[in-house]
C-alpha cells in the first residue's frame, strides 16, 4: 500500500526540477511517430534516444523513456486501425475490429476509442502500480517456468479459440509459428533448420515476419479498390468523430477496467507482456459479448479490450522492472540500460530505499497519460488523413516503409528478405482463412516456450509430470488453458443441438 512520507518527497522532487516536465512532450511525440511507423518500434526509438538520457538526471531520463513507451503504446494502434498493420505485436488484436471499422468509414471513431482506451488503461495500470507495487512483485516471483510455459502457450492458442469457424486452422497456424520460431540456435546451443545459413543462426526475426504477414500480405488484397475507405463521404477527417469515439469508449467501463487489469497482470510477467495481454483481453471480451457475432467485423468493444490491455501492460512491466529489476520486453530492457547508465539497480532494495523516486516516476506517468489524450488527439487527426490517399500510391509506399523499416530493425538484408517471404506466405494463409496472428505470436513466443519448458524439465530433474502436479498455480493455469481449448468444441456441439 501507499507509503505517505515518500509520497510527499516525490511531489517535491517533481516540482523542484523543470527538466522533468520538459522531456515529456518530446518523448510522447517520438513514441507516437515511431509507434505509428510499421517496423520502427518503441524499442528502436528508445534505443536511438538512449544516449541522450545520459545527459539527464535519473528521473527526467526515465520519464523521457516512459513517455516514449506511453506514446508508442498508443501509436502502434494507428497503423493497426488504418492499415491493418499492427505497429508492434501489442496491437495485433486491435486490427481484428479496428481495421473493419476503418474500412467501414469509422476510422475517426475507432482511433478516438483506441486513444481513450489507451489513456484509461495506462492510467489505471499506474494507479495499480502506485498501490500494489509490492504485491505485484511478490506474485510475479511466485511464477515459475511451468506457469510461464502455459501462459505463453495460452497466448498462442487464443487466436485459434477466437476463430469461430476455423479453429483447426488457427491451431495449425499457431503450431506452424512455434516451429518457425524455433529455427536457429536452441537454448542447448544446437543449430536447427538454418540450411547452414549464418543469417538464420539467430532465428527468423519476429518483427519483420510480423510486418510481412500483416502489412504486405494485406496490401496485396487491397488492390481491388481505389481507396482504403470506398465511400468518399466517409473519407473525411472529423475531429468531432474522434471525440465521439473517445466518449463512446467510456460507455463500456467494465471492458476498459477488465482490459486494464488483464494488461497490468500479464504485463508484469517478464517476456510475455503486451503481446499476449491484448489477445487475452480481446478473447475474454469476445467470449462475454459476442452473442450478436459482431466481433471481427468492426465492433468497438474489441478495440477497447485490446487497447486498454496493451497500454496497461506498460504499468505491469514497470512493476517488474522497478520491483525486481527484470525487464519484461525490449522497451523495459532499454530502460534497465538507462538504470545502469545512471548507476541505479532496480529491484527490491531500490524499491525500499528509493520509494520517493519510484513514486515520482509513477506521478510523472500520470501526467504523461493526461498529455497523451491531448497530443494523441492532434496526432491522429493528422495520421487519419491516410484514408484520403489513393491506394495505388499507398500500397508501394507502405511496402517500401515495411522493407526499409525491417532493414533498420535488423541492420541487415535479413529483414527485407523476411518481409518478402512472409508477405507471400501471409497472403496464402489469409486466402485460406488461416489467422496470420497465430503464426506471428508463435514466432514471437517460441523462444520463451522452449526455454521455459527446458527449465521446467531441468528443475523437475526429468520428472516433469510429477513437478507440474505439485504446483497448484500450474494446475489452475493448465485447467484454464485446457478449458479454453475445449470452448470451440462445446460451442459447436451446442449449436448442433440447438439446430436439431
Amino acid at each position: 500500500m501507499i507509503d505517505f512520507s515518500p509520497f510527499e518527497a516525490a511531489i517535491s522532487l517533481l516540482y523542484a526540477d523543470i527538466h522533468v516536465w520538459l522531456v515529456i512532450v518530446p518523448g510522447l511525440l517520438l513514441g507516437l511517430v515511431f509507434g505509428a511507423i510499421p517496423g520502427l518500434s518503441i524499442s528502436i526509438c528508445m534505443a536511438i534516444f538512449l544516449p541522450i538520457t545520459l545527459y539527464m538526471d535519473f528521473v527526467p531520463a526515465i520519464l523521457f523513456l516512459t513517455a516514449i513507451f506511453t506514446g508508442g503504446g498508443f501509436g502502434c494502434a494507428i497503423p493497426a486501425i488504418l492499415m491493418n498493420i499492427p505497429g508492434t505485436s501489442a496491437s495485433v488484436a486491435t486490427t481484428f475490429d479496428g481495421y473493419p471499422m476503418a474500412k467501414r468509414g469509422d476510422h475517426n471513431k475507432a482511433l478516438g476509442i483506441a486513444l481513450a482506451s489507451s489513456v484509461f488503461g495506462a492510467g489505471l495500470s499506474y494507479a495499480i502500480l502506485l498501490i500494489f507495487i509490492g504485491a505485484i512483485s511478490n506474485f510475479v516471483l511466485k511464477l515459475g517456468p511451468t506457469e510461464m510455459f502455459i501462459v505463453a502457450l495460452w497466448g498462442i492458442s487464443l487466436i485459434a479459440v477466437l476463430q469461430d469457424n476455423f479453429f483447426l486452422r488457427g491451431l495449425l497456424a499457431g503450431v506452424f509459428g512455434l516451429s518457425l520460431g524455433m529455427i536457429g540456435i536452441s537454448n542447448l546451443g544446437v543449430l536447427r533448420g538454418t540450411f547452414g545459413s549464418v543469417y538464420l543462426f539467430d532465428g527468423i526475426p519476429a518483427i519483420p515476419a510480423l510486418i510481412g504477414m500483416f502489412a504486405a500480405s494485406e496490401l496485396f488484397n487491397l488492390m481491388r479498390s481505389d481507396y482504403l475507405v470506398v465511400d468518399e463521404e466517409k473519407r473525411k477527417m472529423n475531429l468531432g468523430q474522434i471525440v465521439i469515439g473517445m466518449k463512446s469508449a467510456f460507455y463500456h467501463p467494465l471492458i476498459m477496467v477488465r482490459g486494464g487489469l488483464t494488461g497490468t497482470i500479464i504485463g508484469a510477467i517478464p517476456g510475455v507482456g503486451s503481446s499476449v495481454a491484448n489477445l487475452i483481453s480481446y478473447a475474454l471480451t469476445k467470449r462475454k459479448y459476442n452473442k450478436t457475432e459482431t466481433f471481427g467485423r468492426g465492433d468497438e468493444r474489441g478495440v477497447i479490450a485490446s487497447e486498454s490491455a496493451n497500454s496497461s501492460s506498460e504499468g505491469g512491466s514497470m512493476a517488474t522492472l522497478l520491483a525486481l529489476g527484470i525487464p519484461g520486453g525490449g522497451g523495459t530492457a532499454i530502460m534497465l540500460a538507462a538504470f545502469a547508465a545512471h548507476n541505479v539497480t532496480g529491484g527490491p532494495r531500490f524499491l525500499s530505499q528509493n520509494t520517493d523516486i519510484v513514486y515520482a516516476i509513477i506521478f510523472g506517468n500520470f501526467v504523461q497519460v493526461g498529455l497523451l489524450a491531448l497530443i494523441g488527439m492532434g496526432f491522429i487527426f493528422v495520421a487519419s488523413s491516410i484514408v484520403k490517399v489513393p491506394l495505388r500510391y499507398l500500397i508501394p509506399t507502405v511496402m517500401v516503409l515495411a522493407l526499409l523499416g525491417s532493414y533498420a530493425h535488423t541492420g541487415s538484408m535479413v529483414g527485407p528478405a523476411t518481409v518478402t517471404v512472409f508477405s507471400i506466405l501471409g497472403w496464402v494463409m489469409r486466402r485460406y482463412n488461416y489467422p496470420v496472428a497465430a503464426t506471428v505470436i508463435g514466432i514471437l513466443l517460441a523462444d520463451l516456450v522452449e526455454g521455459e519448458l527446458l527449465r521446467s524439465y531441468q528443475l523437475a530433474g526429468g520428472r516433469l509430470f510429477q513437478y507440474i502436479m505439485d504446483r497448484p498455480i500450474t494446475m489452475i493455469l493448465l485447467s484454464l488453458f485446457m478449458l479454453s481449448l475445449c470452448i470451440p468444441a462445446i460451442r459447436k456441439f451446442s449449436e448442433i443441438r440447438a439446430k436439431a
Partner: protein, 168 residues
C-alpha cells in the same frame, strides 16, 4: 476435368472418385497444408540429425505430431467439401496484379541486395504505380523520386541507418 469413364461401370465410378479427390488435393489450400506438414517433417529430421537428446526434441516432437494430426484433419475436410472439381471453393478470383506485384517485390529485395537502396526503391515504386494503374508517367516518376528521397535518405541521415546509395 470430368473423367471420361464416368457412369460406364462401378469400377470406373470408383476411378472417378479417386480422380475427384486428387483434383481437390491439387488446389492451393491442399498444397499449403502439405507444405506445412512437409516443413514439420523436414524440421524434425533436421533437429534429430543435429542432436538426438531428449531435451532437444521434447517440444518439436509434440509440435510435429500436432501438425500432422491437425493438417490431416483439415485435409480430410478439404476433400469432403462439396466443391467444384477444380477445387476452388467460393474463394474470390485472384487479381492478376497480385502475382505481378509479388514478383516486383521479390525484384525489389534483389535490387536492395545487388543495386543500391535509392535506385531499387525508385524502380520498385515506379513499376508498382504502373501495375496499380497510374497512367501519367511523369506523375509516377515524380512520386517515385520524392518518396525515395524521403524514405531512403530519411533512413540514412535522420535515423543514421547505414544504407548503400548512389546519391549522397
Amino acid at each position: 476435368m470430368t473423367c471420361p469413364f464416368l457412369r460406364t461401370s462401378h469400377k470406373y465410378i470408383r476411378v472417378n472418385e479417386v480422380f475427384i479427390v486428387l483434383s481437390k488435393l491439387r488446389n492451393g489450400h491442399s498444397a499449403f497444408i502439405i507444405f506445412v506438414i512437409a516443413f514439420h517433417l523436414w524440421f524434425l529430421l533436421d533437429v534429430q540429425s543435429a542432436s538426438n537428446k531428449f531435451e532437444n526434441l521434447m517440444l518439436i516432437i509434440p509440435l510435429v505430431t500436432a501438425s500432422l494430426i491437425i493438417g490431416l484433419g483439415i485435409l480430410v475436410g478439404v476433400v469432403r467439401e462439396p466443391t467444384s472439381l477444380s477445387g476452388q471453393n467460393n474463394l474470390p478470383k485472384i487479381d492478376r496484379r497480385i502475382p505481378l506485384l509479388m514478383i516486383v517485390l521479390c525484384f525489389y529485395f534483389l535490387g536492395l541486395l545487388f543495386l543500391t537502396f535509392d535506385i531499387a526503391t525508385f524502380l520498385f515504386i515506379f513499376f508498382s504505380l504502373i501495375i496499380l494503374g497510374e497512367r501519367k508517367i511523369w506523375v509516377g516518376i515524380l512520386y517515385s523520386i520524392i518518396s525515395t528521397a524521403i524514405f531512403v535518405f530519411g533512413l540514412k541521415f535522420m535515423i543514421s541507418v547505414p544504407v548503400p546509395t548512389v546519391l549522397g
